[in-house]
Structures are given as C-alpha cells and as structure tokens.
C-alpha cells in the first residue's frame, strides 16, 4: 500500500481543470465582466474577481484535503498545482481572443473581459500575472486547510462579512449619507465602494467577533433558550415584541427604494407561505402556482379598476376577500382533476394549468373581458381612513398584514390535525389513506389554502402596481417561489422569509444578480438538492425524511 503515500498528480489536475472550466464558463457567459463593475474595496478588488477566483480557491482547498494525512508539503503542492492549472483555460481564452475574433460566436468575450483576465497588462504579462494569482491563492487555500478550525473559521467568517458589506456598500452609502450626512459617509466609502482601510477594519472586527462568538456563543445561546421555562417564555414574548416593533418602524429606516424591495420580498414570501403548504406540507409539487396569483390579481383588477375593463369600481378592502374567495374556488376546481396524480405528473399538469391561464389571459378570446395583452390599468391603491397608501413605505403595511396572517395560519396549521394529515400524505399516500385520512378533502384543502395565499398576494400585487399584464404571470414566478421555499427549507416557516430575502431581495439590491438570476436559481436548485435537500432552515420532520435513505441499506426504487 505504499502507492497511496506518493503524490498523485491526477488529483490536482482534475480539480484544477474543473476549477478552470468553471471560471472559464463564468467568464464567457459574461458574468465576470458584469460583476467587475461592482467594486468591493475601492481600487483593490471587484466582485468580478471574487467570482473568477472562487472556484480555483475552493477547489484548491478541496484538493489539499485529498492529500495523504500528515503530508503538509504534498497538500501545499496540490493547492499550488490546482491553482496553476485552473488558470490555463483562462489563458487559452485570452490567447484565442488575441488571434481570432471570438466575439462573432461568443458575444460576451469582449475586450473588457480580456482586460479583467489579464489585469490590464497585455496578453503576456497578464497571463503570467493570472497564473501567479491563481497559484498563490491556491497555495493560500491549501494553507487554510492546515490552520486549526479555531483560527480558520473566524478568518473565513471575517472575509465573508467584509465581502457582504462590500457588496452592499452602494446602498449603505446612501443610507448612511441620509442619517449621518455625506461627510461621515465619505469617510467610509469612496464612489460606491469601501475604502481599503475601512475594509481592513471591518475584516479585523468581524474576525474577532466571529472568534468570540464561536468560543462563547454556545454558552450565550444556552442562557437565552434553556434556563427555566418561565424565563424562556418571557424571553420569547420579549423577542416577539421587539420583532413586531422592528417590523413596524422598518420602512422609516429604509426609505422609499429599500421599502419597495422589501415589499417585493414580502409578496413573494406571502406566495411562499402558500406554496409551502402545497409542496412543503402536503408534498404536492405544484408548478402552476402562478395561476392563482394571476387569478387574484385579475379579480382585483376587474373589481376595482376605474378604466374601461373595471366592472364594479369597488374599494380595495371590499374586493380583497372576494379575490381570495375566487382564488380558493380556482384552487379547488384545478385541484379536482389532479387529485389522482402523483409526483412528476402533477408537476407537469399544474405547469400546464399555469400556462393555460396565461395564454387565455393573453388571447383575443377573453380580450373584451380582461384586456388581452394590454392588461388592466387604473387599479386604485387601498385607502386607510381617507389616505391612499401610495408610497411604498406606506403600502408596506398592507403587505405586512397579509404576510403576518399567512404566517400565523401556517404556524397554527403545522401542529394541527390538518397539518399532520398533510405530512402523513407527503410521506406515503397509501398508508395515509389506510390510516383513515380522506385524501380528497385533505388534498383539496391544501390546494385551496395555498391558492388563497397566492390569490391574496396577487390582489395586493395588482393594487401595488396599479396595472397588470398577462406577461407578469409566467412560469418563472412559480419557479421563483419554488426556489425560495426549497432554499429556505420545505415545510419550514422561517425558511420562507429567509428564502424570499435571498432569492428576491438580493437580485433587486444587486442589479448584476438580476441578470443571471435564473442561471443561479438553476445552480442553486441542483446544489441544494445534492448537498442540503432540507434547506438552510429545515423543519425537523423534513430533515429526517430526506436523510432517511442514507441510513438504510439501498433498496430498489420502484414502488
């Protein structure tokens, strides 16, 4: 068995090529160039460079982990080689673009991209710099592997926080200027990016805080949650109180633009709560969820619009319950045909329903009634005591109310009889039926309640935008909502909010992300299912279920 001790050059070659191909792909699809427009630390590093080097660094770290135990030199060599090889595909791209006009095939291989890859130093010197940079970073990543967790974890966390603060520096700059004046903001930021010295300070502070948290955090957590039940209960009420106050004053802190972002996040969270019931609790994969959103929005439009298409001219608050009722009926009507379908068939058929609704809304057939491609205009905003809630920081409260209702209903349902019936259904339909659960009722209730939340979200959405068009209701909305509950954790309620924030809020805050949003959703869905199928904030039941197959011996698939 002496061979295993020897250095195996296949490992760094494999990892390096993989890293190189990933970085190359990110470059040729235009991500690196677009992201390079966002400076993280002024004049030092851009987001483009971060995503360019992310794969080489990560894979060097992993390659170092593959070295035989105790062989520090081998591990460092692996890291170095991985980094070195990772640069080669990129250099190939640089040289190819020097001799051919690659742009006629790949529109994103622009001079700007080549300049980023060569650090603006021409092909020869630039290639050398690139190789040097990836090799150095690869070696550093390998070094990180040997630093004890006690030190490396705070450093990584510190880097992460610096990165995050750097990404949002444009928005923070604006807020800090608003509250403390531009003089103070100018100390921290220079033209949308952090000053290097500030970045260093943030890194050091974040590292120290993380170190402190990692060492003392457990004790702190134990004091909050454990001690005695009475104290725990009181602490919980205090926490809820603080959260409510924070939610109420939030728009005052955020200003108009960020309130608008939060509103979009909350509308998706509202839909997320609904889909969470259908997919997360009852296990019915519904890809046509946008249908109910559309139905809610169109009902609101028809009932309240002051334009030609409006039929009733109702006020928002009177129309709202009607919209929800209509959505519930739609949920039941569309639910009946799919009652007997399972899993993947259900997914495709519901996807079909979503598309049917969209195509019908777009068609000339229904044009006289719901406006066709021109949509419905002049939908009024809601009034509260004579005041129209026009600005996003006011409209926020309407959405917040909806989200709180949805969250409360979901929270009460999880532990209730119905919630447990749904979960039984999700685990095994036949067994659930044998246990006396009425499949028809239980499934239809899941569809109906899910549709109710979605219809509510749609009605609010229509009033928020004051005009709706069939193109707003495409499949991507369903996929978006599905992604956010998967990322947050299927069946988990805090997960919905967190998922909505990451998948809806981030792309709105960072325009670059919005361009590649669907690409990233795709990757995210695959990576989540491979690595963490229960999501980031999993519900306990779901976690057990998804990891059950790992404990048992392999069994055959059909059944």
């Amino acid at each position: 068995m002496t061979e295993t001790i020897h250095t195996d050059y296949r490992i760094p070659i494999k990892f390096g090529l993989l890293a190189g191909v990933i970085s190359l792909s990110l470059s040729v699809i235009g991500m690196v160039e677009l992201f390079a427009q966002r400076d993280l630390v002024a004049g030092v590093i851009t987001l483009g460079q971060v995503i360019l080097f992310l794969a080489p660094v990560t894979l060097s770290y992993l390659a170092a982990g593959k070295a035989p135990p105790g062989k520090t030199g081998t591990a460092l060599l692996y890291g170095f080689l991985t980094g070195f090889i990772a640069a080669l595909p990129l250099i190939l791209l640089v040289w190819l673009s020097e001799s051919f006009n690659l742009r006629q095939f790949l529109p994103n291989v622009s001079p700007a991209l080549i300049e980023i890859l060569t650090f603006g130093q021409g092909p020869v010197l630039g290639s050398l710099t690139l190789v040097g940079a990836t090799s150095l970073l690869g070696t550093l990543a390998a070094v990180m592997y040997f630093i004890p967790d006690r030190y490396s974890e705070p450093i990584l966390l510190g880097l992460m926080w610096t990165l995050i603060i750097g990404m949002f520096s444009e928005i923070m700059n604006e807020r800090i200027r608003f509250f403390f004046g531009s003089g103070f903001a100018g100390v921290i930021f220079v033209s949308k990016a952090m000053r290097p010295i500030v970045a260093l300070i943030i890194f050091i502070v974040a590292t120290l805080l993380s170190a402190l948290w990692l060492r003392r955090g457990d004790r702190f957590k134990a004091r909050i949650s454990g001690s005695s039940t009475l104290q725990g209960k009181r602490a919980r009420w205090v926490a809820i109180g603080v959260a409510i106050v924070a939610l109420i004053i939030l728009p005052l802190l955020l200003g108009t633009y960020l309130s608008e972002v939060v509103n979009n996040v909350l509308i998706f969270a509202l839909m997320g709560f609904g889909l969470n019931i259908v997919v997360g609790f009852a296990g019915l994969l519904d890809l046509g969820y946008v249908a109910f959103f559309a139905i809610g929005a169109y009902t609101m439009g028809l009932l309240t619009s002051g334009g030609d298409i409006g039929i009733a001219g109702m006020s928002f608050w009177i129309a709202l319950p009607i919209c929800v009722t209509v959505a519930v009926f739609a949920g039941i009507i569309l639910g009946i045909p799919v009652l007997r379908m399972r899993g993947d068939y259900l997914a495709i058929v519901t996807l079909g329903f979503g598309e049917i609704i969209r195509i019908l809304a777009l068609s000339d057939l229904l044009r006289p009634y719901i406006g066709g491609a021109q949509g419905i205009l002049q939908i009024p905003k809601p009034f509260i005591i004579g005041n129209a809630l026009i600005r996003p920081d006011r409209f926020y409260y309407v959405i917040l109310l909806g989200v709180i209702i949805a969250a409360f209903v979901s929270y009460r349902l999880v532990g209730a009889r119905l919630g447990r019936q749904w979960m039984a259904l999700r685990e095994d339909e036949d067994v659930a039926e044998a246990m006396g659960i009425r499949l028809v009722n239980t499934k239809l209730l899941a569809f109906a309640i899910g549709a109710a939340f979605s219809g509510l979200a749609g009605a609010i959405f229509a009033s928020k935008l004051t005009s709706i068009f069939p193109h707003s209701f495409n499949l991507l909305i369903s996929i978006n909502v599905l992604c956010l509950i998967i990322v947050g954790g299927m069946g988990s309620l805090p997960g919905v909010i967190v998922g909505a924030f990451f998948l809806v809020g981030l792309p709105e805050l960072l325009r670059e992300f919005a361009e590649y949003r669907l690409l990233m959703y795709g990757v995210l869905l695959i990576v989540m299912m491979l690595a963490k199928p229960e999501g980031f904030l999993p519900s306990q039941v779901r976690k057990r279920e998804l990891h059950a197959h790992e404990d048992t011996s392999p069994v055959s698939q059909e059944g």
Partner: protein
C-alpha cells in the same frame, strides 16, 4: 363509509361533466366549421402535412422522455434544453460561418450532415454532464428530489446558453436546395417538411434496431425492467443509464436540426415549449413505450395543427391559433385524467408515479 362513497361520486360526476363539455365543444366546433367550410382542400392538406412534420419532431424529442422514464422513472425536465443546446451551438459555430462562406449551398448534404452531427454531439455532451452531475447522485433519493434538480438543470442550461450566445434570435441558414416545394401525391409539399418526415422515419428505424437488436440495447431494456437484477447479471447499470440519456439526447439533437430547418431560427428559449409538448406526446402515446412516443408525437402534432382550424374556429373564437398551446396542455390533462396509460402503454400514473 357512506361519506367516502359520496365524495368519490361527486368527483366522478365533476370529471364526467368536464369530459362531456369538452366532447360537446369539439363536436359542435367541428360541425360548425365543416358546415361553414372556410378552407380549401389545398389548405387542409397543407395543415395536415405541417401537422405531420411538427408531430415527427415531437416524436423525436418524446423518445428521450420515454427512454429515460422507462429506465429511471423520472421526468427529465431538462430534455428540452438538450434539444436546444445542440442546434444552438451548431447554428452559431457551424451553420452561420458555412452560410457566410457559401459552403452551405455548394455542399448542402455534407453541410447538413456536419451540422446535424455537431448538434447531436453537443446535445449528448450536455445530457451526459447533466446526468452525471444532477441525476446520478440522487438516484436513491425521494422522487421529488431529482425532479427538482431537473427543473434546476433546465433553467441552468437555458440561461447558460443565453449568456454564451446572447439572448437574441439567431437566424438559421437553410441551403437553397431546400427552398420551395415539390409535387407529390397530387399536392405540393415543402421540401423542409419532407426532409423532416424522412429523417424522422430513418431515425426511428435506427433507434428501433439499436434498442431491439444490439447488445447495448438489450442491456438498456434489462435495466429498464429491473435495475438490481440487471446489475446481478453483470450489466453496468450506470453505463446503461448514460447510454439511455445519450440516445435520447442524440434524437433531440437531430430534432433540433429539423426544427431549425423548418422555422429558420434558433434561440435559447426554443427548447422549453417543444420539450413540454414532447412530454405530452410521450404521455399521450404511453410513457415508457417507444412506438407510443412516435404515435403520440404524430397525434399531438396533427391535433395541434388541425385543432384550431377544425374545432376552435367553428366555435367562433377569434384568432384560434393563439390557443394552439392550450390544446396541447388540455390534451395532456385529459389524457392523464381519463387514460393515464396513454394509447399504447401500461398504467403508470398511480403505481409507478
């Protein structure tokens, strides 16, 4: 017990009424159209031939769904992207330069073969990569999990190729030799449509030979029958699954070439609707059955092209062609409700799905 029966009756009644309404609408529309007769015989023939060509392409794509479903019992949601990736790449790197240099018109047959082979190769590559990364590690996971990765893979490839080649529509050059129509069987048939139909027949015969007569085909059938038993017989299951994906993707690659030839353009989004339609075709014919996929594709293509003219127009619906896609989806729903086993298939929705 009485309560339960009541519920079943109620649902059954709803479905019965639903079916009756659809049948009445179709019959009414057809009669109204036939009495009014807005189209000439020549137009009807054109519609039917277009339907057959469209259906042939659906059939080729549907093969991929059916093969993968037969082996893994999963709906490969990303199959439409295999279809798109091959012809997109081939159009950008091969077809456009060929047309620019005039090679396409000088050597039309050779060019089409090269374009087709490149498209097939890329489609197969994308399929193998997807299978390896997104499906293989999850073969023993709950059924919903690979379906979600498949949706992820679908979106990933769509927007990856959108980023790679740009999201605009790329015109697809067709050799001059394929322009125009030829007379046969007393009518004019567009040459591209003829090419589609002939290529599909050749590909289907080749596929049938591959699956039924070769040793590799036999191993695929064995794995589809029972993976564990096949493994015990010394069949490399992973390899058989990879070959299944590759075969489906190769068919999709050829379908991509035909599709581009008929519609003269390619775009990153082009795989999505044909993908869903082809899945409908596979379900229609009975998923898991190869002749079923072929027949399902043909039926769907015909219904989709004849449908708007035949029964929607008679109902007095304005611009019935806008509702073409609705017909396909409604057919999918109807088949899954009333005949889930499809035209030629075993009953699957409840047992294996």
């Amino acid at each position: 017990m009485r309560l339960r029966l009541q519920y079943i009756d109620w649902i059954g009644l709803f479905l019965w009424v639903f079916r009756a309404i659809i049948i009445i609408l179709i019959v009414w529309g057809t009669i109204a159209t036939l009495l009014d007769n807005p189209y000439s015989t020549r137009q009807w023939t054109d519609i039917v031939i277009f339907g057959i060509a469209q259906g042939s392409m659906y059939a080729l794509i549907a093969i991929g769904y059916t093969l993968v479903y037969g082996v893994l019992f999963m709906i490969n949601f990303a199959h439409g992207e295999f279809f798109m990736s091959g012809i997109m790449t081939s159009a950008v790197f091969i077809a456009t330069p060929m047309a620019a240099t005039g090679f396409l018109d000088r050597q039309p047959v050779l060019s089409l073969v090269i374009i087709g082979i490149v498209a097939m190769t890329v489609s197969v590559g994308v399929a193998l990569l997807t299978e390896r990364v997104a499906y293989r590690p999850l073969r023993k996971a709950p059924r919903l999990v690979p379906l979600i990765t498949a949706i992820g893979a679908s979106f990933f490839w769509q927007y990856f190729f959108a980023g790679l080649y740009g999201s605009q529509v790329v015109p697809f050059p067709v050799p001059d030799g394929l322009e125009g129509a030829i007379s046969m069987l007393g009518t004019e048939v567009l040459k591209t449509h003829l090419l589609v139909i002939i290529t599909t027949i050749i590909m289907l015969l080749g596929l049938n030979f591959f699956i039924m007569r070769t040793k590799t085909g036999k191993s695929i059938r064995a794995v589809a029958e029972d993976k564990d038993a096949a493994a015990l017989m010394g069949i490399d299951v992973d390899r058989a699954v990879s070959i299944t994906f590759a075969t489906g993707a190769a068919m999709a690659g050829v379908a991509g070439l035909l599709f581009a030839g008929v519609f003269r353009q390619v775009q990153f989004f082009m795989g999505f609707f044909p993908g869903i339609k082809a899945f409908t075709a596979a379900v229609l014919g009975g998923i898991g059955s190869i002749p079923g996929a072929a027949i399902g594709g043909l039926v769907l293509g015909l219904v989709e092209s004849i449908g708007p003219a035949l029964f929607l127009e008679g109902l007095g619906i304005p611009a019935p062609h806008q509702l073409k896609d609705v017909i396909a989806f409604v057919m999918l729903v109807l088949v899954l409700i009333f005949r889930p086993q499809g035209i030629l298939g075993e009953r699957l929705t409840e047992k294996k799905a």
